[in-house]
Amino acid sequence: MKFGIVVFPGSNCDRDMQDALQNDLGKEVIMLWHKDEDLSMFTTDDCIVLPGGFSYGDYLRCGAIARFSPMMKSVIAFAEKGGKVLGVCNGFQILCESHLLPGVLLPNAHQQFVCNNSYIINSTGGKALKIPVAHGDGRYFASDELLDELEANDQVIFRYCDSLGTIDKQFNPNGSLRNIAGIRNKQGNVFGMMPHPERASSSSLSNVDGLDVFRILGMN
């Protein structure tokens, strides 16, 4: 499985993601420029990553302008063919703006940027994973019907919790509905999450919980 990482103007986690995938997970990585369109070197077994950052300054709405870049047209086509796509933080926001994932990411409930270690837990259980968040617009929002549907289809992949795995509002860094930290599409090939697994994948940072996130997403 090889990876492509899309670099938008304002992406700032592209190199971190490259570092984690190449050096911590030993994967082949190709960097992709937003103005290009060619994804012919990838098959649907591969994965395109939309990294974190502030594409186009996050002006207007996070991800709104990046969505229209030439590369995103190809990424949308790639996803529709069944190729894997992962969006982290700003990448998650772009996926929602592109309608590859349902819902929207609103400004944090407390109206402040938040950066800290959050704990998240996978819908199938397992241990709580300590993964850093860093965002101003991470409050996942969708209609009640949609949220019910996401849950019914097992599309909620990560929720905020405490170190013991207890899911509760007080451990939610942004006020997202139902403590949602990450979701996938119905087909199960497009993933979006606010926390940054690439910032927790190296023993030199005293935290390798991010490797578990990649494993859960089937990308290890």
Binding site: N12, D16, D19, Y59
Partner: protein, 735 residues
């Protein structure tokens, strides 16, 4: 318009300076030329009232790869073929007027100083000072400054890894906002801020120029008065998205090999970058101002020269390689235009619509060239007599230790600053080793170099106020101590000298003594001063701020296995104090905040003793004898012990066997003390080593599973203290 001395004075030049300009030009300058001199001879660009003393600082040697002041930022050798580039700069006055944009553009400016040299910034720090935190104005300023720093730094994508915040009444009108950035570069791949090669084209890249912050350089040098709020054009708007693109484009364009020299446009914009680059290369420039991309229509020559629009660079390119440069900036959708070329006559000639608008020898404009340098008078401030008159015996010793400690842990200068720090992205870059393992200094992996960097900013302004010479030494010593306690080897300093009005002899005394003390301490620690900035006029009608010479220090950790953290590791470990307890409460938070004493001497400090303690701690770390090290600073020993317990929620059982005052023992801020912890088996060896090194050590007690006991009395548990420490500031700000 005829240029007169009156106009010169309106542009904040003195009558003598106006005469000097006429002499140097051999004629009366026109208005555009006068504006150029006004910008370049401002305090901010010329260092005219500080350079004489700055020259006394150790400015080369050690690992320095360029001498201080030669380039936009300091450059030091990291080994393995890499260099570290770092600098600190103030944005005090703009932040006082518009806290959000003022702080944001401060962060932007310091990042450009780093990447204009070809280095990639890897970490930011900031050192902030505000008035009383309970005051509505302080809350507004703090909230705006923090949002501004976060807005710019988070988007730009460099982690904010450290810094400091103090709240003191003297900063009420004049908050201090000092921003530091640290970057990495391959040795030999750096770019100099110089212009060379006759006929080489000069490119302007980055944001289009508007009337932002015109006169900002002069503005920064002016006292803040009631009218300042109406100085509207002085506000600059930062665009971190543009800066991020500019960073990537500049680093890419350097790789093309086409770049001869590069400088960012900060204070005094185009005039400053053209003058400094030309003077440095001993050349001149022919510039067509019509070719500068503008955001507003009909800008005048002087407006273009002085505009401080952000996110702009001046690049001298090797003739014939223009295409490679244009291609990179086109890729990043950044304006890039050839605005002139290098000439051999040393003259800056600015043309507009074919007319020569200004003609000035570059040399005459710059620091080290024609810019004036003044020797100012100074005299010992009267208040120092009140400081000297302080008598510790006039203060009754504490009776209830625990209650006092509870108050101290919640003093805003001491309590957890997480309300602020969570608003900064501290983990982008995936290199902040402090996120999960805290140290006294920030520790950041320098990816690709095989090493890590320890970095810190330090300055207790009250110590400097109490004793400018000793206080500045303490700032250097504390920075070095923080780096040593993190397992690093201190290599160099950048400084941000925040003072009042230099024309006030008592303020200037503080400046002279502080610079002297800083120099002496930097020589002792072999940490040369690589550069920095001076911010005078942090003064309002009622007085000046505390003299605040902020030290930014960088250290190297050659091997991460010798990196040290500050927190207790295991229940049962021994707790050892290294260094000597003193009967000293002078200038402590305890004395100032709880006892209300404004004037007292700086705390105990002896530089040789300090140096020996640091060497000893470093040797313990490198012999792997200890598992934590945390220095004693504001709040004294009690706060240090509590802080050591918070991360793993461990406690301590300690006792004082002493004749000293209780307040001095637990809350005094005497320098040169470090608390370490270790496995019980190491205690004897540490004791023996200390004896042979002649370092006082005291076994204080043991680490517990979470309860706290002092002199046999129960002090509740670490969790309850941590809660108070964590929420003190939030409770004030969220109220």
């Amino acid at each position: 318009m005829e240029v007169t001395v009156k106009i010169a004075e309106e542009l904040r030049l003195t009558a003598e300076e106006f005469e000097l300009i006429k002499q140097k030009l051999g004629r009366t300058p026109n208005f555009t030329e006068l504006c150029a001199f006004s910008g370049m001879w401002s305090e901010h660009c010329s260092y005219k009232n500080s350079i004489k003393w700055l020259k006394t600082l150790p400015r080369d040697g050690g690992r320095m790869l360029v001498a201080a002041g030669e380039e936009n930022a300091g450059l030091m050798d990291m080994g393995n073929g890499f260099g570290v580039v770092f600098k600190i700069e103030s944005h005090n006055h703009p932040s006082a007027i518009e806290p959000f944009q003022g702080a944001a553009t401060g962060v932007g400016g310091i990042q450009r100083d780093i990447f204009t040299m070809g280095a990639r910034p890897i970490a930011s720090l900031n050192s902030l000072r505000f008035g009383n935190i309970n005051d509505a104005k302080t809350k507004r300023l703090l909230s705006g400054v923090v949002k501004g720093i976060g807005h710019y730094g988070n988007c730009f994508g460099v982690p904010t890894v450290g810094g400091e915040i103090y709240f003191e009444e003297c900063y009420h009108t004049n908050p201090l906002v000092n921003a530091m950035s640290v970057g990495i570069v391959k040795v030999g791949k750096t770019i100099s801020a110089t212009a060379e090669g006759l006929g080489n084209p000069v490119f302007f890249v980055g944001s289009a120029t508007g009337k932002d912050g015109i006169g900002g350089a002069s503005f920064a040098s002016a006292n803040i008065t009631e009218d300042s709020a109406e100085d509207l054009p002085a506000v600059q708007v930062g665009d971190p998205f543009q800066e991020k693109k500019l960073l990537e484009a500049c680093l890419e364009v350097i790789d093309t090999g086409a770049v001869v020299g590069m400088q960012d446009m900060g204070a005094a914009g185009i005039i400053c970058s053209t003058a400094e680059m030309s003077a440095k290369g001993g050349v001149g420039m022919h510039i067509d101002l019509d070719k500068v991309p503008t955001r507003q229509k009909n800008m005048k020559a002087w407006e273009l020269l002085l505009s401080e629009s952000q996110e702009r660079m001046l690049i001298v390119v090797e003739k014939g390689k223009e295409g490679a440069v244009l291609k990179v900036f086109e890729k990043w959708d950044l304006p890039c235009s050839e605005i002139g070329h290098v000439t051999g006559d040393g003259l800056l000639k600015f043309y507009m619509h074919g007319n020569l608008e200004a003609e000035i020898p570059a040399y005459e404009l710059v620091l080290g060239g024609g810019a004036p340098q003044y020797t100012r008078d100074y005299k010992e401030p009267a208040y120092l007599q009140k400081v000297a008159a302080f008598d510790t015996n006039s203060i009754k010793d504490v009776t209830d230790l625990e209650a006092t400690a509870e108050q101290i842990i919640q003093i805003p200068n001491i309590a957890n600053k997480r309300w602020v720090t969570v608003q900064y992205d501290s983990t982008v870059g995936a290199a902040n080793a402090g996120t999960n393992a805290p140290s006294d200094a920030a520790v950041v992996l320098a990816k690709g170099t095989g090493k890590a960097l320890a970095m810190t900013t330090d300055c207790n302004g009250r110590y400097v106020f109490a004793d400018p010479y000793k206080g500045a030494m303490i700032a250097v010593a504390e920075a070095a101590r923080n780096i040593v306690c993190s397992g690093g080897d201190p290599i160099g300093v950048t400084n941000c000298l925040n003072f009042g009005n230099p024309y006030n002899p008592e303020v200037y005394y503080q400046f002279v003594k502080a610079v002297t003390g800083m120099g002496d301490a930097c020589r002792k620690f072999n940490t040369p001063v690589t550069g920095g900035n001076v911010s005078f006029y942090n003064q309002h009608p009622e007085g000046a701020v505390y003299p605040t010479p902020t030290i930014g220090m960088v250290g190297i950790i050659d091997d991460m296995q010798y990196r040290m953290t500050l927190d207790f590791k295991n229940e049962g470990d021994a707790i050892i104090l290294i260094g000597e307890q003193q009967n000293d409460i002078a200038s402590s938070e305890y004395l100032h905040k709880l006892r209300g004493v404004e004037f007292s001497p700086a705390p105990h400090f002896d530089i040789d003793e300090e140096f020996a303690v640091q060497k000893f701690v470093s040797s313990l770390i490198h012999s792997k004898l200890i598992s934590s090290a945390h220095d004693i600073s504001e709040g004294g020993l009690a706060v240090t012990l509590l802080e050591k317990g918070f991360n793993r929620e461990l406690g301590f059982d300690v006792a004082a066997n002493t004749d000293l005052r209780k307040d001095a023992f637990w809350f005094g801020e005497a320098q040169s003390r470090v608390v370490v912890s270790c496995n019980q088996e190491q205690v004897e060896q540490i004791r023996q080593r200390a004896a042979s090194a002649n370092i006082p050590v005291t076994i204080l007690g043991t680490v517990t599973g979470g309860y706290i006991k002092v002199n046999g009395e129960s002090w509740n548990n670490t969790l309850s203290w941590k809660e108070k420490y964590n929420t003190a500031i939030e409770n004030i700000l969220n109220a």
